[in-house]
Structure formats: C-alpha cells, structure tokens
Amino acid sequence: MGGALTRYRVIAWIVGVALVVLVLIGMPLKYAADEPIVVEVVGTAHGWLYMLYLAATFDLGRRVNWPLKRMLLVMLAGTVPFVSFVAERKVTRELAARLGEQIPEPVAAG
C-alpha cells in the first residue's frame, strides 16, 4: 500500500501544480495577453497526467478499500485548483494514521 500511496502523492502533486500553472498563468496569458503557448503545452500535458492521477487514485482506493463515493470525491478534488493539495494531505494523514506508520513528509516541509 505504501507504494500505491507514494504513486498517488507524486501524481497528485504534479497534476495540482500543472492545474495551478494552467489557471493562474496560462489562462491570463491566453485571454489577456493573447499568448496561448502555455495553455497549449500545459493544458495538453495536464489532460494526460490527470488520467494517470485517476489511475493512481483508483489503484490506491482499491487497495485501502475506499467506498466508491470517497474514491470519486478524491478524483474530483484533482480538478479544482489548490483543493487537490488539501485532498492529498488529508488522504495521506488518514492513511498514515490508519497504518500507524511514518509517512515521510515532503522535503523542507513546515
């Protein structure tokens, strides 16, 4: 399960960052400055990475026996800017407490 959680955390972070870049940098550049390059690159990449996020979330939820509703909520959380980071922390803390294991914090946390 530790491996599935790590995979979920990694892809959740990547997708979260891509989404924030897309919304906060790409969208203003495209619609205000008429420069669509960021949206074209990050937007396409985010679409494919979100699929990996779905797969990783599904895999994790299957292993830790999440109900369907929780799995879908975590998947949806990945579509909202910044909420994905909150969801990732919540999931990690809950599963760490359940396992009674030490989940390593991100580097330079706190």
Binding site: M1, G47, L54, R63, V64, N65
Partner: protein, 169 residues
Amino acid sequence: MPTPVVTKPTYDTASETAGRPGTLDAMKRLWTPAWIVRHVAMVVLVVGFLALGWWQISRAASGNTLSWAYAVQWPIFAGFVVFVWWRELRHTLRGRSTLASGAAAAPGEPVTPGDAASPRSTPAVRRPVRVTRVPATGGGPEDADLAEYNRYLTWLNANPGAKPGDYPG
C-alpha cells in the same frame, strides 16, 4: 424495556442466497436506490463526456489544433467511467456490498460472517486483504524471493477466485 435479543446465525446464510450474475436476485441487488443513482450517473457522465469529445472534434476541425488532444481524452474518460461502473457492479454481484454499508472494513480485518454490527452478505470471493508480512529468514536474495512468492501463494489460497492483479502486496 428490555432490548430484543437478536440471535446471530451460526453459519453463513447469506452465501446460500447470494445472487449470481444473471439471476433475478442479482438484478434486484442492482436496482436499489443507491444503484439506480449510479446507473443514472454513469449514463449521464458517459453521454456528457462523449458530447464534450464531439464538441472538441468540431473545434479541432475548425482550426483549433489543441482540441485534437482533448477530442481523444474525453472518450478515454468516458471509458474510465464505464470501467468503474462495471467493476463496482461485478463487486456487488460477487457478494459483499462495501458500497451500501458505507464504511468499508479496515484492511487486514478478518471478514466475520453474520456480523450483527455490519449486516452484509459474505461473499463467495472475498476482497483482497493485506497479508501480514513475515520477514524472510536466512540470507540471500533467493530466500527473499521465495518468501515473497510463498506470501503470494498464501494470499491466493486465502482468497479463492481472486485475480493475481488483486494482490495487495
């Protein structure tokens, strides 16, 4: 007022009436309010995603090259919805309804038949459970591999009918 005494069945009565796929009982288990919501949600999402994909195709045809990628991605998301729906459906037909009970059993917790606290039918095929890891004794990578393989075989034995892909280790 004394609480009524509920006698637990001493054997697994649920497994005798578990709905097999294709039986009327199986259909009833997929026609509960919660399942109707899932069926409707699946249809709505698939139709919506395919419509979005079609919309992206029309955008791509009119010159927006970025839309070609989205036109491919939306049908994949629709397929994923169908996949999750189908998996939950199969899971329900197999026996234990983790969805209806809301709270799923903790990993590693043994499935107790006739548990009054969580009334659920005991499945013919159980969910994958976490196997307690036994540290490999003796040195050498071969012993570790052998121990890992034995753990896998133990898990397979404890979960008849489970697929190798369900192995949680």
